[in-house]
Amino acid sequence: MHETGVAMEIYRASLQAAEAHGPGRLERVRVAVGELSAVDPELLAYAWEAVVAGTPDEGCPLEVEWHRARQSCAACGQDKERAEGSWLPVCPDCGQFLTVEGGRELDLLQVSYLPDEPGGAHV
């Protein structure tokens, strides 16, 4: 539901990463989103389209790398099936605490940036 704010943050961070390389435009932005991050990838893509619309970066695609969470039980010593949307921290079989790895990612990974042609402004 807060995907618009997240998309704006991604755009802001992308421009920040690109600005060191001179004028140009964003060609592609890649992010990692974990299933426990409370961000819906489809809504994020819609929000991104809206955020870059009307800017020099309009049409720049946002690529989402989706990360599942993995949980394992130290007592049973095996990976536990995790029902979609369930965040339960205890093992359904033995009641011990589960170790949850990953799934909370919300990271900007890579910005593909197309610099303006050198000297292009003087042609």
């Binding site: 990463a17 409370a38 197309l114 050198p118």
Partner: protein, 246 residues
């Protein structure tokens, strides 16, 4: 993970080399958390609150669960002995801040204009514009929403989730994010318990599963029942924060 954007690595000759451009697209590896700027701002706020010895509580719940009404009862109880202030977050109107100010307690309204949560920058701005006196306790009443506010650190000491008995006893498992993140869950509108079907033990069980060791308090702002226990918890948290400072 590398959190410093200046550590970006540039590869100008990757598969995206574009002959039409002398240098082609640059692949800038960034690898930073999207909400990093919020987390950095929240950390600054947390350091300031630690220096000032101000206890900060981030109140999160669905709309209509009674955050403002509980706050009215809370500040009325505390204001004789402690300096308290409130930052209110809503999509529109100054109503909530007006209600708090009517009790003689300083309040600043953040109007988000559509955004579903408060972020650390807004809290910083509210603190600057709100001209608060030195505070013992600052309450931040987040925008009514059980999902989005969970992702945004505001520099608070703890999150308190409110769940009114009229909302139903299945909410913790349906919104596990907030009930995992909240150190304290307040069951509100308990005076309505006789009129609704609300299995308190089931709720406590869900919270125990999601947040082992989390505190569950019961309160009715209408009758005042439980408000003293909530205020006692706040006073104890404030005392332990101050004790850590010295």
């Amino acid at each position: 993970m590398c959190d410093d954007p200046s550590h970006s690595h540039v590869h100008a000759h990757g598969p995206f080399r574009n002959l039409g451009h002398e240098h082609g697209p640059l692949q800038v590896q960034v690898e930073r958390r999207v909400l990093e700027s919020n987390d950095v701002e929240a950390q600054h706020l947390r350091e300031d609150f630690a220096e000032d010895g101000t206890l900060v509580v981030n109140l999160i719940s669905s709309p209509g669960s009674g955050k403002t009404t509980l706050l009215e009862a809370t500040v009325a109880e505390l204001k004789g002995t402690l300096s308290v202030g409130v930052i209110e977050g809503d999509v529109a109107t100054e109503r909530d801040a007006d209600r708090i100010r009517a009790l003689g307690v300083p309040a600043f309204q953040v109007v988000t204009g559509g955004a579903c949560h408060l972020d650390a920058r807004q809290v910083n701005k509210a603190l600057r514009k709100g001209k608060f006196p030195d505070l013992d306790v600052l309450f931040i009443e987040n925008v009514g929403n059980l999902v989005c506010p969970t992702s945004y650190d505001l520099g608070e000491d703890f999150k308190a989730a409110l769940l009114s008995v009229t909302e139903g006893d299945d909410k913790p498992f349906k919104y596990p994010g907030i009930f995992s993140a909240a150190q304290v869950t307040l069951i509100t509108k308990t005076d309505l318990m006789p009129h609704v079907s609300f299995d308190l033990e089931a709720v406590k069980g869900q919270i125990k599963t999601l947040r082992p060791g989390g505190e569950v308090l019961m309160a009715s702002a209408q009758t005042g029942t439980g408000v003293d226990a909530w205020c006692g918890l706040l006073a104890a948290r404030l005392a332990s924060k101050r004790a850590r400072r010295t």
